[in-house]
Amino acid sequence: MATRRRVAREFKAPPFTRADVEAVSARYDEPDWLRQLRLEAWATYEGTPMPTTKDEPWRRTDYRHINWDSAGTLLAPNGGQLDDIPAASRQPLLGEEQGGMLAFVDDVVVHHEVSEALTGQGVIFTDLRTAAVEHPDLVRDHFMTHAITPETGKFAALNAALWTHGTFLYVPRGKTVELPAHSIFYTTQPGVSLGHMLVVLEEGAQIDYLHESLSPTLDVDGSFIGATELIVKDGANLRFVSLQDWGHHMFEFSHQRARVGNDAQLDWITGQMGSKFVKAFLEIDLDGQGSWGRMSAVYFPDGKQFMDLDTQQNHNAPHTTSDLLFKGVLKDESRSVWQGMIKALPGAQKTDGFQANRNMLMGNKTRADSIPGLEIEADDVRCTHASATGQIEEEMIYYLMTRGLPRDEAVKLAVDGFFVPVLDRIPFENVRDRMLAYVERKLLGHD
């Protein structure tokens, strides 16, 4: 047999060095402890291999086509302004009001406002570097200690070593914050952006928080390597909405994890619209008795977009409840993967875990993988899952058309209706409307 020459494509690591870590740390004159953390994380990073399609969580998710020459270059701030961010994203969340807004363009803070209502309650909402200097104890206690650690994975270690910007939201014990917080990561250049979000709600605290990540589409690869940590202590209540609308040149690798204490509640909704490629780990740990966590997603890839949402609902204590609803519509030649695991530790009796994944396919070149999983070590639990994937229902479209709706409007109505049960969980009306506008844009697009 003739030997065939194969171009060996490797799972290449981005071209960073320890010198990059030192440079990022020096750029902002960081405190020593933070610099030390970065260097330790760098050692972990170097000791961790790049994930490959032989690793279970990456089996369906191949990123070998990324061009790290462009997607691995740190951004150089070039004078971006708040005005660069699309106006729709800058709108206040409730009528004219929001509690605070923190916006970054190319990793640099371009806007920071916090209403007196929030500062008066002792709420801290600022960029993570400033927080590390002004509130070192709070940051040290929670930053990469509870939710994500450098050992979580290769990209978590990279984020820990090299994060370029971040947000810190802190709500003190017992404070119920009425006005929502809002942050934006926006990039204008190709290259890599490493964002970190740390949210801490002390006992009995309560707030709504919206984060959005977005960029225009550029013609060379870019990347976002992110970490999100949500720490919801006993009796606290967090509603967290995150929207992703990167340009179609972006690769996102992110770890997002919440820890939920006794009788605490987390309602987490994500909308995934943009990017070229996403691998996001989304995890809820129900650590405290009586805690409740809900994770909801809408995703709508088109063109050749690829999205892998990898979820985990960890029941670590008795009497915990988790609920997951992920709904996707796929168009053109796009692909999605949802793999979700419900775990219950041996002591986690009387837990109730549910997960549902539904995909609506538009056309036969799309593909949606739906992989539910249970790992139950307790015996008195109720854990169930449901998943369904199918082509958009022609009988539904026909019915709508018999009422005079042209086909494209009938499809839009059916798709909107499919997403509505998730969108209804978003507490901000104008964000719901924007999501529907995204959907319309996607449906009208012809890529």
Partner: protein, 258 residues
């Protein structure tokens, strides 16, 4: 004279299986026709073919509405010309409220008549919807429910007639709207239809039972058998069927054939 729906020598197949075998029928605006016939004889096939369901292939014949060749038109275009069908089995549209759906349907029609149209305003729409809901004695909360999603059989049928009332068609086909309605609901819905009818509305009532015809009084009754209109007559034909079933007609046909 108003618009007419003309069905001429219509032959229809599903997956190469002939179902309709030469149907002829004309419904004028202002007329009420009843179409009866045993299960599987092709009544719903006829209704769906008129609306342009993609599963039904027309192998011969013509469908004309108001002088226009329906075969050239998509389902939505036929609807906007003034044709309506109340489904025998309405389809659930989860996540889309009755109100949202109706407003979209009205706007689609307004936009096709005038591309510049901004659609119906919210207050005008609310009033229209509530008026029609009153007519059909429907609870106001109905507008906020997802269309046909979890509706009872009777609620679905009522929602079909609500749509008909809002869309104000010229010709409406009601495919077994009476089945699934309780006795009171049948009266309410029929009276609703009667309020809508007049010289502007032609109706084709598909039914198995004489009862609805006591309310919605047809001038013509047709009986479909094996994909053809086997008999046409006046209201007395429905009464006769109620008493005698279809056997006499089958026998008559066979007798003719031999």
């Amino acid at each position: 004279m108003g618009a007419a729906l003309e069905i001429r020598n219509l032959h229809v197949s599903v997956e190469d299986q002939p179902i309709l075998r030469g149907v002829n029928l004309t419904v004028q605006q202002g007329e009420v026709h009843a179409l009866m016939g045993p299960n599987g004889s092709g009544k719903s096939t006829l209704a769906n073919t008129i609306m342009g369901h993609p599963a039904y292939a027309i192998t011969a014949g013509q469908l004309i509405f108001d002088g226009e060749d329906l075969l050239e038109l998509e389902t939505d275009e036929r609807a906007r010309l003034g044709l309506f069908m109340a489904f025998q089995y309405p389809v659930a549209i989860p996540g889309v409220t009755v109100a949202n759906f109706l407003r979209n349907a009205i706007n689609a029609r307004m936009k096709s008549q005038d591309p510049e149209s901004k659609g119906i305003g919210i207050p005008a729409f609310r009033k229209l919807m509530l008026d029609k809901m009153d007519l059909l004695q429907m609870d106001k909360s109905f507008g906020g429910r997802y269309l046909n999603d979890g509706f009872s059989g009777g609620e679905k049928k009522r929602a079909e007639i609500l749509q008909m009332a809002v869309m104000e068609p010229q010709i409406a086909i009601m495919d077994e709207t009476d089945s699934g309605l309780d006795i009171d609901a049948l009266r309410v819905v029929s009276e609703g239809v009667n309020t809508l009818s007049g010289p502007e509305l032609g109706v084709l009532v598909i039914t198995h039972y004489q009862r609805i015809l006591n309310y919605i009084k047809p001038q013509y009754v047709h009986i479909m058998l094996d994909g053809q209109i086997a008999e046409s007559g006046g209201p007395e034909l429905a009464v006769h069927l109620e008493e005698h079933g279809y056997d006499w007609l089958r026998e008559k046909q066979n007798g003719n054939g031999k």
